[in-house]
Symmetry: C2
Amino acid sequence: MKAAQRLLEYAAGSGVSACFANPGTSEMHLVAALDSAPAIRAILCLFEGVATGAADGFGRMARQPALTLLHLGPGLANGIANLHNAYRARTPILSLIGEHATYHRANNPPLASDIAALARPVSAWLKTAETPADLIVLAAEGLEAARRNGPAALILPADVAWSDAEPRAAGPPPTAAPGDQWEQSVDAVAKTLGPDAALLLGGRILTPRASAAAQRIAEKTGAKVLVETFPARIARGGDSAPLKRLPYLTEMAVGLLADVKSLVLAGAADPVAFFALPGRATRLSPENVRTIEYVRAGSNPEAALEALAEAVGAKDDCGRADSPAALPNTDTAIDPYGFAQVIAATLPEHAIVSDESNTLGLYAFDAAAGAPAHDWLTLTGGAIGQGLPLATGAAVACPDRRVLALEADGSALYTIQSLWTQAREGLNVTNVILNNGAYAILRLEMMRVGITEQTQTAANLFDLRRPSIDFTALAAGFGVPATRVSTLHELAQALRRSFATPGPALIEVVFA
Amino acid sequence: MKAAQRLLEYAAGSGVSACFANPGTSEMHLVAALDSAPAIRAILCLFEGVATGAADGFGRMARQPALTLLHLGPGLANGIANLHNAYRARTPILSLIGEHATYHRANNPPLASDIAALARPVSAWLKTAETPADLIVLAAEGLEAARRNGPAALILPADVAWSDAEPRAAGPPPTAAPGDQWEQSVDAVAKTLGPDAALLLGGRILTPRASAAAQRIAEKTGAKVLVETFPARIARGGDSAPLKRLPYLTEMAVGLLADVKSLVLAGAADPVAFFALPGRATRLSPENVRTIEYVRAGSNPEAALEALAEAVGAKDDCGRADSPAALPNTDTAIDPYGFAQVIAATLPEHAIVSDESNTLGLYAFDAAAGAPAHDWLTLTGGAIGQGLPLATGAAVACPDRRVLALEADGSALYTIQSLWTQAREGLNVTNVILNNGAYAILRLEMMRVGITEQTQTAANLFDLRRPSIDFTALAAGFGVPATRVSTLHELAQALRRSFATPGPALIEVVFA
């Protein structure tokens, strides 16, 4: 019995059911050991950024950690961008990172590097298994840390993995997860709520009950309710309250919060600008605002919001959905507003939306408030290339739900290899690529930093049309059926066809 | 005048002529400033791993640093794997990594992370420009460090880039580059050379003169001459001595060095196993060998080898190339040996070969000794996904030479986005994809670590055939003309067609 086997058997016994992998030589004993843990579905990804992003999508939906299996420092490095997003979302993940044998590290072979240094910025927990004796104890610690705080990383030297020594057993896991953290008393917070207050929601998951409680509080007290700009996961549509998100653009967010005297944070961080801009503030709330951290950033605010609703005397449910979405005039060319309406009108019940649509998808979130109940996942850490992997992992976690990836062209090209894993695993993902042949957001950002005239180099560096990228050909190369649409009618048809057909599809949306 | 402009003007004045970029909001002033430095060619890459790998290929060929332009921690992270390879090759590169404005970092916005922690493991030099005053001095230091020691990284906060303050001027660059480092006297080393000695060559570049000198030493003294397993760049073919490389497989390397009593290192590191294997040594030379570091690892050994040749009385040139390569029987299916012969027989003069062909390209290097003069670049750090980007950058550095990328299917899929940059820039790259539908090397490695029976999970995780990947479709998606070949005759035809046609092409080679 190899230590690697013990490790994977332990993980399987602790509820781990998926491993997103791109292994190398130093991980061979882990690969072999996966046969001893048939409860863990091993899923090959062609690139580590797909593996870590898929683990993020899996964890956000399953609320259980998946494993990733990464090859030494460079394999980890390829997965860091999406681990960054997962770290910001506090998604439970346990990454197993292979390392050279303990006695070989000092030889500094070609693939050696400082793995811990690379992992630390994106890890809520990080340890190296220096001996097989500690392996199971560390795995238990890592899984527990992942469940509580987000991505954990266990560095595993090859000779520890292949050892026949028997690891010590881990103690029993904590019997109950710690309760959500309330930083302030409900009554104190309740007193601050009124028309000059705002309530900002966040956390790993915003449930329908959390949103409903917040909506009741708003109606009762006159306080504004907003969701953090990039929520990890939020239930929407159906009976859910149609809450708005704090806008991405500093200028708009500052305007929206301008009159707020008290800002109550319920699972969200104190809001700051995504980027500093010359001459503009970087904090989004007004200078003299009283900021109250009610529920710690990243914690689930559901129970705290229900208690708060009760404290302000808004106990009764007033669940009020948007009016059902209707199809727009569908024989016209595709523009962002029409696009959003078509998405909202076609979205199937219990869909999961992985949203990395950037500029062109701007209206989709609000429009879909009128769609049937669904979950919406966003780009929590701003590291692009998240959307297709996230959709892939969400589809593994929820095989009975349709996943819709709304994906900007430039971002799609970071981790386009995701399509192959979707095809291989027969995942129910509809990949919608919003193709405007540009890094359009950078044209906007350039103006925002004060450069009003687009330079020649910028025009070159933001342009994706020389040559145009054919996403239907890329999909074909990876084994995913694809179609290109250029009217709202074609888009609606293609969406409905994919929603009714098991397995993945790609729809390339050409914007006018 | 913005500090960013001063920076790029300084770089252009110091001989920088290329910038491989994937910018974001925090780099906008650098993008705008590129217009002020028209001597720097700005080249857009769809993914940072392409940018850093291209900078590596550029630097190995131009022997001058290119810039990379990377967006914050995640943008850097995406480029780390290929920076790792460049770090091992000691390629001159100066990475400009955008950072949040100095006063915004403490706000911990979504895209914030510890950039320096991520950069350190792959940087020979690393600093953050905390003020505009220091910017030019730091750029000068970074460029000098890159030229001497390999990849340098300058972290550039947005407010430093957009500042109007005038940076201090840098002092004049050191007038002469430091000479190559000889660690031992020539005469002492000369005395150790004999039939029981071996000379192991390495360094940033192995020139025809270095190889010729080594070959003369071998003929005069009876010493073995070998090239390190993964040389950064070696001149081959034409009149160059047909030197052999130390084999990748520990078992073979140990056998080859078994009788060696003295090992002279000339630019190469003391050879160690790529991976530790259960029960096997990790040092490749025999236990009681006398190892002499003649030229420090990574330094250019040309002058030292010529001095050594003179010291052993082997001054006269005996340049002796292999017999010219001939086309094999070409109506047969493609196997690794026939493949190597076709490459050797068709390679045009002054070609540059970017070799990430792994298992299937095993014979190509030796076979090409009989081809016209060319340069051969290898996977120095073992981080896969290098070959296509490296070829891209080499083609930018040497527009009048044909670049041939020999690329394994699994590795190609890490950075397949390279094809688009090749199409956009009209680069003369022939991309040969060796498609056996598998991570074949991992099947071999699994046996080598002692797992003789391939498990079900391993069979799944090493297989790239469900579904098969269509590289010609991927190439079409990125705008590169492509063809698929399955006989040696078709391969030879496709190679000759591409070598005669300006711009990139992709040839998918299906193995029997």
